[in-house]
Amino acid sequence: MTADSTPALVQIADADTDGPAPAGPSAARGPRARNTKAYLQYVAAKIAGAAVSLFAVLVTSFFLFRLIPSDPVKQMTGGRPVSVEQLQSLRRQFGLDQPMWQQFTSYVGDALTGDFGTSFQFHAPVIDKITEALPATLLLTGTSYVLYTALGIWLGTRTAWRNGSMSDRFNTAFALTLYSVPAFWLGLLLIIVFSVGIGPIPGMFPTGGLESGNETGFAYILDVAHHLVLPVVTLVAVGYAQTLLVMRSSLLDEMGSDYLTTARAKGLRDDVVRRKHAVPNAMLPTFTLMFVNLGHVVAGQILVETVFSWPGLGGLFYEALSVPDLPLVQGLFFVFATAVILANTLADVLYPLLDPRVGR
C-alpha cells in the first residue's frame, strides 16, 4: 500500500517544483535547485536536532544510573555481602573514585566509540552482548511490524470505507479490545493454550526460544519459523489496533472531500476512487505512526521476549534489570533511544518528499 502511494505523492511534489511549463532542462533547474537547497538545509537542521537529542540521551543515561541511587556500587552488589576492599576496587574499576566531570567525559568518549563498559553478569563487553542479541530482536519485531502495519492499514481502510456498517463496528471493537490487553499476558495465555495445551487442544508450538538446536539448513529455517509463530501472533494482535484507528480516522477525514466527489463524477469505480485517490492522501498520519513504531522495533518487546524466552534485546534488558547489571542496562537504554531518534529523523527527512506542504 505504501509502495502504491509513494510514487504518486512524489510525482505531485515534482510537478509543483517544476512549475507550470518546464521549457527544457535549463528552465527547470532554477526553481528545482532552489528547492533542493531548501530541502538540504531542512535535512541538515533535522540531523543536527537528532545529534542534540542523541547527546541528551547520553547525558540522561549517565545521570539516571549514576546520580539517583545513593551509591551505585551498593546497587551493583545488590545487597550481597562484600568487603570494604571489594567495594573500593569496584569503585576504582568503574572509575567512580574520580570527580564527576571526569567520569562524564570519559563516559561520553567511550560511548561515542561504541564502548559501553563491561557487563557485570556476563563479564563480556556490553556492545558484544548487544550485537549478539540484535538479529533475534530484528527477526521477531521486524516480522510482526510488517504484519501488523499491513493488517492495520488494510482493516483501517476497509472499516472507514464502510463506516458504520456491521463489519466496521465489529472490527473496531475487536481491535480496541485487543489493544487493551497486556501483551505479555496474551503471550502467557497463548503458551498455555497452544504450547502446553488444554483440553482437546494439543501443544503444537514450542513454549519459547528461537530454535530447537539440532536442525540445519532448510529444516533450521522451518524450525525458527515454528518458534516465531506464537510471539509474532501476540505482537500483531496487540499492535495492529493503533494503525487501524489512525488509518480509519484519517481516511474518514478525507471521505467528505470534494476531490472524491469529482473522481466519482468522472465515472471511476468505487474501488479505484479508494485506492488511487482517498488512500494515498489518508496515508500521511499513518506514515508518521509507522516511523514511530519503526523506532520501537529495535527496543523490541521487553516482556513478550521475556515471556517467550526469546534471545533478543528485550529479553537481555530484562535479564540485566533483574541483577541489576548497570552497564548493560545503560548500553541498552542508549541503543533503544537511539533507534527511536533515528527513525523519527528518517520520518522527518522523508516527510516533505511525500507531502510538499511540509518543511518548505
Binding site: V52, S53, A56, V57, T60, L64, F65, I68, P69, Q75, A160, N163, G164, D168, R169, T172, A173, L176, T177, Y179, S180, V181, P182, F184, W185, L186, L188, L189, I191, I192, V193, V196, G197, I198, T207, R248, S249, L252, D253, G295, H296, A299, I302, L303, F317, Y318, L321, S322, P324, V329, L332, F333, F336, A337, V340, I341, N344
Partner: protein, 311 residues
C-alpha cells in the same frame, strides 16, 4: 466548549448578576455535553463498567473480607482448580484468586488515576506555558518535551523504577514523568489556537497579566481536551502499571493484577496449564483499560465530531 454562544436566556431579567449567569451557562453546557455523550453507546458501556469497577474497589473489604490477602491462614490448598468455594481457584499460598482479583482493583485504579493525573498535570502546565510565552523559554520547553518524547517510555519507566525504592508511588512517578510529552504537545497546539482569538487580546488590553490569561482564559478552553486525554492516558497507565508489577518493580506487599500475573508465572502456572490463575487478572486489566478507552473516545468525538467514532 464554555465560550460558545448560548441562547441568551436572561433578556427578561437583565439585573441577574454575572456569576449566576456564568453558572447557568456552565450547567447548560454540561447538559448538552451529556446529551451528546449519551448518544455514544460504547461510551455509555465504558462508563457503566467504570462505575461498577469503582464500586468493587471501594467495597472490596465487604465483598471478600479484609484478611483475604494474608498469606498465613489462607483458606484453601495450593493452586486448587475452580470449585464452589473458590470460583477462580487458589494461588500457591491457598488464597482465593477471586478475592485477590477484587483487591487488585484498588491498586490498578489508584495507580492508573494518580499516574494519569500526574502526567496530565505536567503536560497541561508545560503545554500552556510553552504555548502562551514566545521566545527562548518556549523553545527550551518544547526541546525538553521532544527529548522526553523520543525516550522509549516503557524503558525509561523501567529504568526509573529500578533506581528508586520499590513502592506504589515509584510506579506512579515513573509512569507520570515519562508519559506527559504527548499531552504537552496537544495542549500547546490548543493553547496556540485559543490565544489567537480576539477575546484574549481584549483581556490583554484590559490589563490582564500572563497568569490571569493562562488560568482564566486559556485553561478553561483546553480543559475539555485535557479531560479526553486523561481518560486515554489512564488506560495506558493501567497497562504500564501491570507491566511494571509483572517485572517485579512495584511494591511486593500489595496485591495488584500485574503482581498476580508475576506470582502465577513464578508458581509455574504457565507450564502446569493453570489457566484459571492466569486468565482473570489479564481480563480484568483489559476490561478496565477498555472501559477508559471507550469513555475517552466518546468524549473525544463529542468534542470533535469529525473523528467519526462509531456510536
Amino acid at each position: 466548549m464554555t465560550t460558545e454562544s448560548m441562547p441568551t436566556p436572561t433578556k427578561a431579567e437583565p439585573a441577574q448578576n454575572p456569576r449566576a449567569l456564568a453558572r447557568a451557562r456552565k450547567r447548560q453546557s454540561a447538559a448538552r455535553f451529556w446529551r451528546e455523550y449519551s448518544g455514544h453507546r460504547s461510551g455509555l458501556w465504558g462508563l457503566g463498567a467504570l462505575v461498577l469497577i469503582a464500586l468493587v474497589a471501594v467495597f472490596a473489604p465487604q465483598l471478600v473480607g479484609a484478611d483475604s490477602q494474608s498469606v498465613t491462614g489462607a483458606p484453601g490448598g495450593a493452586l486448587e482448580s475452580p470449585s464452589g468455594e473458590f470460583p477462580l481457584g487458589t494461588d500457591q499460598f491457598g488464597r482465593s484468586v477471586l478475592a485477590l482479583l477484587v483487591w487488585g482493583t484498588r491498586v490498578s485504579l489508584t495507580v492508573g488515576l494518580l499516574a494519569a493525573f500526574l502526567c496530565v498535570a505536567i503536560g497541561t502546565v508545560v503545554g500552556i506555558v510553552a504555548g502562551h510565552f514566545h521566545g527562548w523559554y518556549s523553545t527550551v520547553l518544547m526541546r525538553v518535551t521532544d527529548w522526553f518524547l523520543v525516550m522509549p517510555t516503557l524503558v525509561l519507566a523501567i529504568a526509573l523504577a529500578t533506581v528508586m525504592d520499590r513502592s506504589m508511588w515509584t510506579v506512579v512517578i515513573a509512569i507520570g514523568v515519562t508519559t506527559w510529552p504527548t499531552t504537552a504537545r496537544l495542549v500547546r497546539a490548543q493553547t496556540l489556537a485559543v490565544e489567537s482569538r480576539p477575546y484574549i487580546e481584549r483581556a490583554r488590553a484590559l490589563g490582564g497579566g500572563h497568569g490571569h490569561i493562562m488560568v482564566r482564559h486559556v485553561l478553561p478552553n483546553v480543559m475539555p481536551l485535557v479531560l479526553a486525554q486523561t481518560t486515554l492516558v489512564i488506560s495506558s497507565a493501567i497497562l504500564t502499571e501491570a507491566t511494571l508489577a509483572f517485572l517485579g518493580l512495584s511494591d511486593p506487599t500489595t496485591t495488584s493484577w500485574g503482581g498476580m500475573l508475576q506470582d502465577a508465572r513464578e508458581a509455574g502456572a504457565v507450564s502446569a496449564g493453570d489457566w484459571w490463575y492466569l486468565a482473570p487478572p489479564g481480563i480484568a486489566i483489559a476490561l478496565v483499560a477498555l472501559a477508559f478507552t471507550l469513555c475517552g473516545r466518546a468524549i473525544e468525538s463529542v468534542l470533535n465530531p469529525k473523528l467519526g467514532v462509531a456510536r
